[in-house]
Symmetry: C2
Amino acid sequence: MDRRYGFSGGSAGPWLVSGIKPVIGASLDMVDRLEILEGEALPSDGSRWLLRSVVSNERYVTQGERRELRDVQQGLGRKDAVCAALIPIRKSEAWWALAQDERRAILEEQSQHIRVGMRYLPAVARRLHHCRDLGEPFDFLTWFEYAPGDAEGFEELVGLLRATEEWNYVEREIDIRLRRDPHP
Amino acid sequence: MDRRYGFSGGSAGPWLVSGIKPVIGASLDMVDRLEILEGEALPSDGSRWLLRSVVSNERYVTQGERRELRDVQQGLGRKDAVCAALIPIRKSEAWWALAQDERRAILEEQSQHIRVGMRYLPAVARRLHHCRDLGEPFDFLTWFEYAPGDAEGFEELVGLLRATEEWNYVEREIDIRLRRDPHP
């Protein structure tokens, strides 16, 4: 199974881009549409930027947490989940220089990243993509999908995460919002 | 800093290949020499195979273990460390499906991978390279360097690791042995 994905911003794709906001550091160019590419697929003509990534193994979630997550989460592609967000993030060298137990302690014991995300399940579905080891400008891309009625909950979730200790290690973050094209 | 490396087997490079032994699963073609490429460097003519990798952040080592490791380890490239080994490994899907705490428990609490490796420091220097997320045939490449007088210790180290619980999750392993060319 190919675990590689590309996110291409340009004039093609089923997702209409409603806004691109730089949260920390430099932004990406505004584009009309986003296309999600699988494996080695090439972007359509008119692509302005391409973020490559891979869905990898879990790095922090424990067996118990994973059981809880699986009990409550739902998949991507739900019919009513027409809102999406793509949030590319780069963390600092200081973060990557920490040992595994130090990163876990900041991420969960101090910041409750996993616990907070769980609170918004199943409404806000998400998939984490890794890109640091691919030599990309970001370390992670998180893709979120939710229904319009859950938009407020989604804003609350990103607000809570941005206020955590973990976010002190974020040195670049962009918030890209999208709507599924109703007339593709 | 570019963290990417390629290991090219062929007719070029400062390392003479003395043997390539398949430990589990299929082998790689025997070659005369090995060349270590940095970043995007291309292999010399006559390359028979190329293993791409990246040196990534630590995935299991705790803060305490890292302090112990740093106190005792020495770098690669020591003048008397003319023996080397390159050991490509692929682990099973069952391994990658485990949660972080389950993998850590097997790797260290049950198999003492970190603790055992530490016992052979500083004699056996090593660097772990990751390749699973690059879509390569192996998940890891470990590069070892040691002096001829420490060869017995090195054999003991790989023997101990191969007898661990962790190694039940190894589904492909190749053992490539090398000597630094004294007349490069």
